[in-house]
């Protein structure tokens, strides 16, 4: 299945963060490139949502939502810069 843009998880992330993460700039922990989260590649799977770096394709984040909780890993993001 193809991917969509980071923009597509704005709703899920808005359940967690009090700011719009898709407009934030993140640094990839794998390749060191920076980009807006909206530029990242998002893959929806039955088990969860995987966010990959648009530059190196490595995993930036994994999001799993169930009726009772949300689990988020940001293991591939080294720092986020937010517009204030």
């Amino acid at each position: 299945m193809g991917h969509v843009d980071g923009n597509a998880i704005a709703g899920s992330l808005a359940e967690i963060f009090p700011f719009d993460v898709t407009a934030a700039v993140g640094r990839c922990a794998h390749c060191g490139s920076t980009g807006m989260i909206g530029d990242a590649m998002v893959y929806f799977a039955a088990t969860g949502t995987i966010v990959r770096c648009a530059n190196c394709d490595e995993v930036l984040a994994v999001l799993v939502e169930t009726p009772s909780r949300i689990w988020l890993s940001l293991s591939g993001v080294r720092g986020l810069t937010l517009p204030t």
């Binding site: 969509v4 843009d5 704005a10 808005a14 700011f19 898709t22 807006m36």
Partner: protein, 251 residues
């Protein structure tokens, strides 16, 4: 536009009531919601719609908003995906007066802000594939409503004229400054100067603002369309940082 509160503070689950619904094309429907506590939205933002079945099963999908600005009136244009979980209900079953759970406004990435806010005078190129036109409707409407001086050009790739969303309104906007181009992949209108066919790199080069003018580019459509067009734009000399994309998945 006055300073709106920060986007995040404005995002919430809300309930909207359907106040208008009419066919947009043979497979799409224009739906207007009245959402009393809607804080307004930027041009290009989207919202999530959540449907809950009597047994508690929930399905949620994102839809671009065709309207922008303040007010409780929020307009969507939804294309029915035959295999979809949410769009068939919205296009075929949703009735006037029905209430809908929506989460929004969402997304600060794929938005257009007026030059008075960004102080960015570079031209803007919008490229839509099929129902990817919806966020651009919000942008061209907002642009026209405040008479923003930014040059706008819209390239709309579509199968045939009967599939065009908002045709009359787009033609009207084209009379007042919007540069509007169509590429027909299936059947071109009678007397159309070029034969119908899928968009090519050469057609794109001829119909988009050239890289030398350093336009900000927004592309919205299916994943395949967006990949193709964004790749060609890079080859034509556009900077990746000037290109923002919104791909939609298939369900």
């Amino acid at each position: 536009m006055s300073d709106p509160p920060p986007a995040a503070a404005r995002t919430a689950w809300r309930v909207g009531t359907v106040i208008e619904a009419r066919p947009e094309t043979s497979s799409a429907r224009r739906i207007v919601l009245d959402i009393p506590d809607w804080p307004g939205n930027d041009a290009g933002q989207h919202l999530d719609v959540r449907l809950t079945a009597p047994d508690g099963y929930q399905a949620q999908r994102s839809y671009s908003i065709a309207s922008a600005g303040l007010g409780s009136r929020v307009e969507l244009a939804v294309d029915e995906l035959p295999e979809g979980e949410v769009s068939p209900f919205l296009v075929e079953d949703l009735q006037l007066g029905d209430r809908l759970e929506v989460h929004g406004p969402l997304g600060g990435y794929f938005i257009w802000m007026p030059q008075s806010v960004t102080h960015d005078a570079r031209p803007v190129q919008l490229i839509a594939g099929g129902s990817g036109i919806v966020p651009f409707l919000a942008m061209v409407r907002a642009h026209a409503a405040i008479a923003d001086p930014t040059p706008f050009r819209l390239l709309y790739a579509v199968r045939e004229q009967s599939d065009v969303f908002y045709l009359q309104e787009l033609l009207q906007l084209a009379l007042s400054g919007l540069k509007l181009d169509f590429v027909y992949s299936g059947t071109a209108p009678r007397d159309w100067p070029v034969p119908a066919g899928r968009i090519t790199k050469e057609a794109l080069a001829g119909l988009a603002i050239p890289a030398s003018e350093k336009p900000r580019v927004f592309i919205c459509g299916s994943t395949g369309f967006v990949e193709l067009v964004a790749g060609w734009l890079i080859e034509l000399g556009h900077a990746a940082a000037d290109i923002r994309t919104e791909r939609f998945g298939g369900t």
